[in-house]
């Protein structure tokens, strides 16, 4: 039986991974003039991703037999890992790791707690970890876009920001329009996901629920629940980050520190 499993599912899975990885390499080579940095970044990210998901898969298989409370540690670990990834996108923003950690823990953490307490997410390890990981991963992406966009806006508008300061604006007021631009840009994917639900995109969780015997209508409604949960988590995390990031890019005397 083991041999059969290896020869069918595992080998097939590895072959499929190689085919999709090869497709990304072809696409990157095709577009190498537009984004030369991706030539190494994407293959390395893929290697890292495959090792992580296989390791997590193995851990998950062991955890799924354990009690529900163990998922708290798994989700907390995911939040720490996500904050570490966000920090790399938030170059030149001082103490970006703690900023991302607080924002992710507040955004994803509090929304997951509320959804679990209200019963929206069943208190089962089998649902908490997959749904929680989706919420954390999407919130992480939103955070990365938010901080990257905010940094870009500030660096591109140093003159305007210092002009506002010179006219007596507080640091919060001086960057308000750039916080708004970053906030809006970071939430575009989450909004578009909800908007295109069922038309452009039929996400995996719905297909999985139908395959495991849930009614298609319930599965469809639950997919909406997941996407709106992702939006709430992302928006809350960005809201928290928008308050914290100003303190990182200005001195306590409202002097702009992030200049290039």
């Amino acid at each position: 039986m083991f041999e059969h499993y290896l020869s069918s599912q595992l080998v097939r899975g590895i072959i499929y991974c190689l085919i999709t990885a090869l497709a990304t390499v072809v696409v990157i080579l095709l577009a190498r003039r537009r984004a030369p940095g991706l030539l190494w970044e994407v293959p390395l990210a893929e290697l890292r991703g495959i090792l992580q998901i296989v390791a997590v898969g193995a851990i998950l298989a062991a955890l799924l037999r354990g009690p529900a409370w163990t998922s708290i540690f798994v989700l907390a670990g995911m939040i720490v890992a996500a904050a570490s990834i966000v920090r790399k996108r938030a170059k030149k923003i001082p103490r970006a790791f703690t900023l991302a950690l607080v924002a992710l823990a507040t955004g994803a953490g509090s929304i997951l707690v509320v959804m679990t307490l209200t019963g929206v997410i069943p208190l089962k390890i089998l649902t908490l970890i997959p749904v929680g990981s989706m919420v954390i991963a999407n919130t992480m992406n939103t955070q990365s876009i938010f901080l990257d966009r905010f940094r870009g806006e500030v660096v591109a508008h140093v003159g305007e920001i210092e002009s506002a300061l010179a006219l007596g604006a507080t640091s919060d007021d001086a960057v308000e329009r750039y916080l708004q631009a970053a906030f809006r840009a970071s939430l575009i994917p989450a909004v578009d996901n909800i908007r295109s639900l069922g038309i452009v995109w039929i996400p995996g969780i719905m297909a999985g629920m139908v395959l495991s015997g849930a009614s298609p209508l319930y599965a469809a409604l639950y997919q909406f629940v997941v996407l709106t949960t992702i939006f709430s988590s992302s928006a809350l995390a960005c809201f928290v980050a928008s308050h914290l990031v100003t303190r990182r890019v200005f001195s306590s005397y409202s002097q702009l520190l992030l200049r290039g």
Partner: protein, 234 residues
């Protein structure tokens, strides 16, 4: 003895990364209604001096006294509302010209009437511009709006950081004439950084010459500019 409005005492700024001093040991007083011209070659620390006085950067040595008190005791926002600054470029905000002009008073919760905005714009030769999009102006027009925006805050001191250096020849002349007229008519207290010794001689009551971040000379325009050594540095 006229009232000293701004006094720099041993003012300096050191770069923490390299230990290099952009400005060091600069001391002078600026009396009410006085125009102090600041001249010197590129990299002399002229802009840094204004940034330190406006507290856009923090001094690493010395301090500035404003109305006799250490300016570090004031909230930066309060200080900056009293010490206006016009930069080399206009850096207007998206929106109308009226919104740009109302920005400063709005920061302290005050509104500025449309008639006041029109009067300010008329003073700088931009009658009827209030509702125009700020980002569609020429360089000279934009700098006039930036000057008006600073004046709308009714500052006690105006810092001018080479406000015409980014303009073409024709706009430069008209904006300089405008500034000269505004300073005379409003009896503004000014620190005017300029590359032009002639402009400094015409407009300034005294001239401060900076070189490599240090005071090279400070005195009456004819005294300072007639000395050959300093003139060569300028």
């Amino acid at each position: 003895m006229p009232d000293i409005l701004v006094e720099c005492r041993n003012l300096g700024r050191e770069l923490s990364s390299s230990g290099q001093f952009l400005l060091r040991g600069v001391s002078f007083g600026l009396a009410q209604g006085e125009v102090l011209g600041i001249v010197g070659p590129s990299g002399a620390g002229k802009s840094m001096l204004l940034r330190l006085i406006n507290r856009l950067d923090e001094p690493t040595e010395g301090t500035v006294f404003f109305h006799g008190g250490d300016y570090r005791e004031l909230p930066p926002e309060t200080l900056r509302r009293s010490i206006g600054m016009v930069m080399q470029r206009a850096y207007l905000f998206p929106g109308t010209i009226a919104e740009n002009i109302a920005f400063g008073p709005g920061q302290r919760g005050e509104s500025i009437r449309a008639a006041q905005i029109d009067a300010l714009l008329a003073e700088v030769g931009l009658e009827g511009y209030a509702s125009r999009d700020a980002l569609t102006l020429s360089g000279g027009e934009a700098q006039r709006v930036a000057i008006t925006r600073a004046l709308a805050n009714d500052p006690e001191v105006l810092l001018l950081d080479e406000p015409t250096s980014a303009l073409d020849e024709a706009s430069r002349g008209s904006v300089e004439s405008l500034l000269e007229r505004l300073i005379r008519e409003r009896r503004l207290t000014c620190l005017w950084v300029t590359h032009s010794p002639e402009q400094a001689r015409t407009m300034a009551d005294r001239i401060l010459v900076l070189a490599a971040g240090r005071t090279k000379a400070l005195g009456l325009p004819d005294e300072v500019l007639s000395r050959r050594m300093e003139a060569a540095d300028v």
